[in-house]
Symmetry: C2
Subunit: 105 residues, 2 copies
C-alpha cells in the first residue's frame, strides 16, 4: 500500500536539491556518501533529504555491506501523479457543472 498522506509527498518534491538527488538516483542506486561526491552539498544534508524522501515513500534504503544505498521508487511517483490527476479532473467537472447552472441551462 502506498497511500501516505498526499501533501507531505508534494512538500518533499518542492525542493530543488531533492530533485537533484532523485535525478542522480535515477541513474542507479547510490549511498549518501556517493551522492555527496556528485552534488554540491554535504553528506549530512543529503542524508536528511533521503530521510524525508524515504518517509513519504519516494525512495527506499537497501543495505549493501557497510553502506546504505537508496533506490528511487518511480512507481510511487506515478501513483501520486494519478491521484493528482484525479483531483484536477474532479474540480474541472464540478466547476463545469456550476457554470452550466449559472448559465441557466
Amino acid at each position: 500500500m502506498s497511500s501516505a498522506a498526499l501533501v507531505p509527498v508534494f512538500a518533499a518534491l518542492g525542493d530543488e536539491t531533492r530533485w537533484s538527488i532523485l535525478a542522480a538516483l535515477g541513474e542507479g542506486d547510490a549511498s549518501a556518501s556517493a551522492l555527496a561526491e556528485r552534488l554540491p552539498v554535504t553528506r549530512q544534508a543529503i542524508a536528511k533529504h533521503l530521510a524525508v524522501l524515504a518517509e513519504v515513500g519516494l525512495v527506499e534504503p537497501v543495505r549493501v555491506g557497510r553502506e546504505v544505498r537508496y533506490r528511487v521508487l518511480g512507481a510511487e511517483l506515478s501513483a501520486t501523479a494519478a491521484r493528482l490527476d484525479a483531483v484536477g479532473r474532479d474540480w474541472e467537472r464540478r466547476l463545469a457543472a456550476i457554470k452550466e447552472i449559472a448559465e441557466g441551462l
Copy 2:
C-alpha cells in the same frame, strides 16, 4: 502554455492550508474575504497563499465588481500530474534496464 518550472508547483502544493483553499475553490469561485470566513486563518494569510497559487498557475484571479474572485485551474493540476507520471515511468524504465545489465541478461 502552462509550463512554469515544475518544482515551485510542488512547493505550492506542499502546504495544508493551500489545499484547504483549493478545496474551497473547488466548490465555486470565491474571494479572499469570502474564503477567510470559512477557513481558520486571516484574509491576508489567504491572500498570500492565493498569490503563491496564482504565481504557479494553479489559480486565476477574476475581477467581479469590487471584489477579486479566484478560480481553480484543474487542468493545470492534471498537466502537472502528467509530467510527474512521465518522470516516474522514465526512472522505472531506466532502473529496469540497469537491473537487467547487472543480471547479465
